[in-house]
Amino acid sequence: MEFELQYTKAQEEFRGEVRAWLAANVPEGITARPRSFEESHAIYLMRRELGRRLGARGWLYPSGEKAYGGGGLGLDQIIVLEEETARLGLGLPPYYDSGGKMGSASIRVWGTEEQKQRFLPPIYRGEVRSWQLLTEPSAGSDLAGVKTTAIRDGDVYVFNGQKIYIGSHHGADRYWTIAVTDPGGKRHQNVSWFMIDASLPGITTQPLYMLSAQSEGETDEHGHKNIIYFDNVRVPADCLVGGENNGWKVASTHLEVEHSGQGNIRTNPVWIALLAHCRTQHRDGRPLIEDPDVRGKLAEIYSRLEAVRLLSTRNFWMVYAGEKRSYHGSQVSYLRKTTNLWLTKAILDLLGPEALTNDPVLGAVGGIAEAQQRRGIVEQHPGGTTDIQRVVIARRLGVGAREPQQAGRLGEEGLARKIPQRVEA
């Protein structure tokens, strides 16, 4: 067993290439915290442009098959890309692309060859931004209870209904959504998934301002989400993915991604910023880090976050090594949610009321602490509440059931087989 990443010479060469490319292509201010809609929009456009450039090199979705516009890269290079973009405070994609991430994963597993060729390249190349549309006013935790209908009419499906808590600022080009295709059918056997053009007639959007929003790089001030209405929207039938009324099986892939099944190897950015803050900011005439109470609390925070990081790293390895997974995705999702909520109080205890303000002078950690206070609460519900994660974990363990439930397929299993033998340390 080896926990420390050992990089090959080829990886280090690739890192040099990536770092030089990012230095030349990542514009200044792309990770700034926007303070107005206009600033947010300008940053969003920067991020989309960066996405297109990354996409042209296959680095936006590096694990996506080359034939569909992805990078076709192995874990060795994906790790380097993850690390180098994280170093700059960016993710892959560098913008909120929930429908792209979960839609592409689902299409890889459940789409036809024709659909893969049609839907995946624009996502992988950064030409479109996609949102997932799952939750409805009466269907949150109970995803199978969605009421939006998609009724076949010749060569189209006619959509009617509404989705809530969707997306972020600045709109999307595609919607990845689930709807009822057989209103008289049995639960779990009456829903289907669609990748929809967001500009179709009959789709309207109403903004919704939440306590916080998770959209990376966009203004966090108002937690911009949306309600999306479908009023007799005619969706071409070839946008249905994974077979009519087969949506609950397709959902297994979608939810596995959403429930952190893929894992990651990133260090929590809030932790990095918090530690730097305590090293540089003074209280009572000395650096915060020298206060024994601060040191104790920081150590406690680090210990909790390390558990999350380790299990995320484990999931990352399991997916790419082709290891059989069960409860692992939901376990990380559950731990991340509960830890981030716990962290709100820990940071408040650590930093005091400075953690509650985004004031340019007094706001701790450049306002990151204040955003975490709100985000830690809001994070409890997207992608399944903590209660839902616990249900999934129990089912995967076989608790209260004859057979343990299987994890959803991700379509990336076994990528590690592409890793060249690591000979150099």
Partner: protein
């Protein structure tokens, strides 16, 4: 032993409850929060008419001089309504500080003016880049001499500074380590305030730049420390927090009975029940610590120690209760239009109002002579 309320306490509580029901619709609070309005002067006018501005002021100075539990019951109801008001800062905390000062003409006049509602006295205590070590440690050094003092420095996390007619500023005179408080009219030249944005209700930075302070604007601490004189304030603030928890409990029970998922009200799921029970336990722990502290102050049974217990428990509990309520409500709870976030924000805002819970617990240990 008798844990029931007296008839007059019940009357006071019902009166406060009636005010909130009649005059503070949640939709109005949601609107105020959205528009960035911090407080409603019309509501404050009604508090004045009810005599609540002088609830803790001695009768000699025109106050009602109510017992701690009666005042706690008023603020429990205001907290239940998440009513934002400078009333706590002025008529509870500032009055607590002034009552801890030696009698003097400026002190007595201030108490009288707070009671009749003509003065809104906002304590300006905390200095930037300092940890909380009690009110006496917050003093900003005055310069000058011969009774003509000059105040320069910033005070941070000052609640409802925008409502102040006067500030009660913790200061230290040169060569005099004894803490003092300066009564400074809010309109004095050299004072600038800034609203602090974020997950915080009506907190400000107040900067004093070469502000002239006359000798007769200073009041001085008595034999007991300011922190001991704030025992009633801690109980009243805790009661306000308890009120918020009571409302979140009602909201959570109601939501769990009406929100249907998987074909059944979510309240039937044990996990949802668990969140509500967590909220309930947090609320009741704080509520009874608060009631007992109110009694202990009145009965002379180490009310200071009990007030620290109530204060720290209520601050911790309000956070815990808000977190539990959000788990019950999921996405709906994070939609500010629903109203739960009014309480969540208040739970964070009030967490350290009278010192961090950890500091309060250490004070409690000292007060218990451990």
């Amino acid at each position: 032993m008798d844990l029931s309320l007296t008839p007059s306490q019940t009357l006071i509580r019902d009166s406060a409850r009636g005010f909130v029901r009649r005059h503070v619709p949640r939709a109005e609070l949601v609107r105020q929060a959205k528009e960035g309005e911090t407080w409603d002067p019309a509501w404050f006018g009604q508090f004045r008419e009810a005599g609540w501005t002088g609830a803790l002021v001695p009768a000699d100075f025109g106050g009602l001089d109510l017992d701690p539990l009666s005042v706690a019951l008023i603020f429990e109801e205001l907290g239940r309504g998440a009513v934002p008001s400078p009333l706590i800062a002025s008529s509870v905390i500032a009055v607590g500080l002034l009552r801890g000062c030696r009698p003097s003409a400026p002190r007595d006049a201030a108490l009288r003016a707070i009671a009749d509602g003509s003065m809104i006295m906002i304590p300006a205590l905390r200095r930037p880049e300092t940890s909380w070590k009690g009110v006496a440690a917050t003093g900003t050094a005055l310069t000058g001499g011969n009774g003509r003092w000059v105040l320069t420095g910033a005070k941070v996390f000052v609640p409802f500074a925008d409502a102040a007619t006067h500030y009660l500023v913790s200061v230290v005179k040169p060569g005099d380590s004894a803490p003092a408080l300066a009564i400074v009219p809010a309109g004095t030249a050299g004072i600038a305030t800034r609203l602090l944005g974020g997950f915080l209700q009506a907190n400000h930075e107040v900067r004093f730049d070469n502000v002239a302070v006359a000798e007769n604007a200073l009041v001085h601490g008595g034999d007991e420390t300011f922190d001991a004189s704030l025992a009633v304030a801690r109980v009243v603030v805790a009661a306000y927090q308890v009120g918020g928890m009571l409302e979140m409990l009602d909201m959570s029970v109601s939501h769990s009975n009406t929100r249907v998922q998987f074909g059944t009200p979510i309240g039937r799921f044990q996990r949802v029940q668990d969140h509500i029970i967590r909220l309930l336990n947090a609320m009741d722990a704080a509520k009874w610590a608060t009631y007992e502290a109110a009694w202990a102050i009145e009965a002379g049974r180490n009310g200071v120690a009990r007030s620290y217990l109530a204060g720290s428990t209520a601050s911790d509990s309000y956070l815990e209760a808000a977190n539990a309520a959000h788990e019950v409500h999921a996405a709906i709870g994070s939609d500010p239009r629903f109203g739960l976030t009014l309480y969540t924000r208040m739970s964070r805002t009030m967490y350290e109002l009278l010192g961090p819970p950890g500091w309060q617990r250490r004070q409690m240990a000292d007060a218990l002579d451990w």
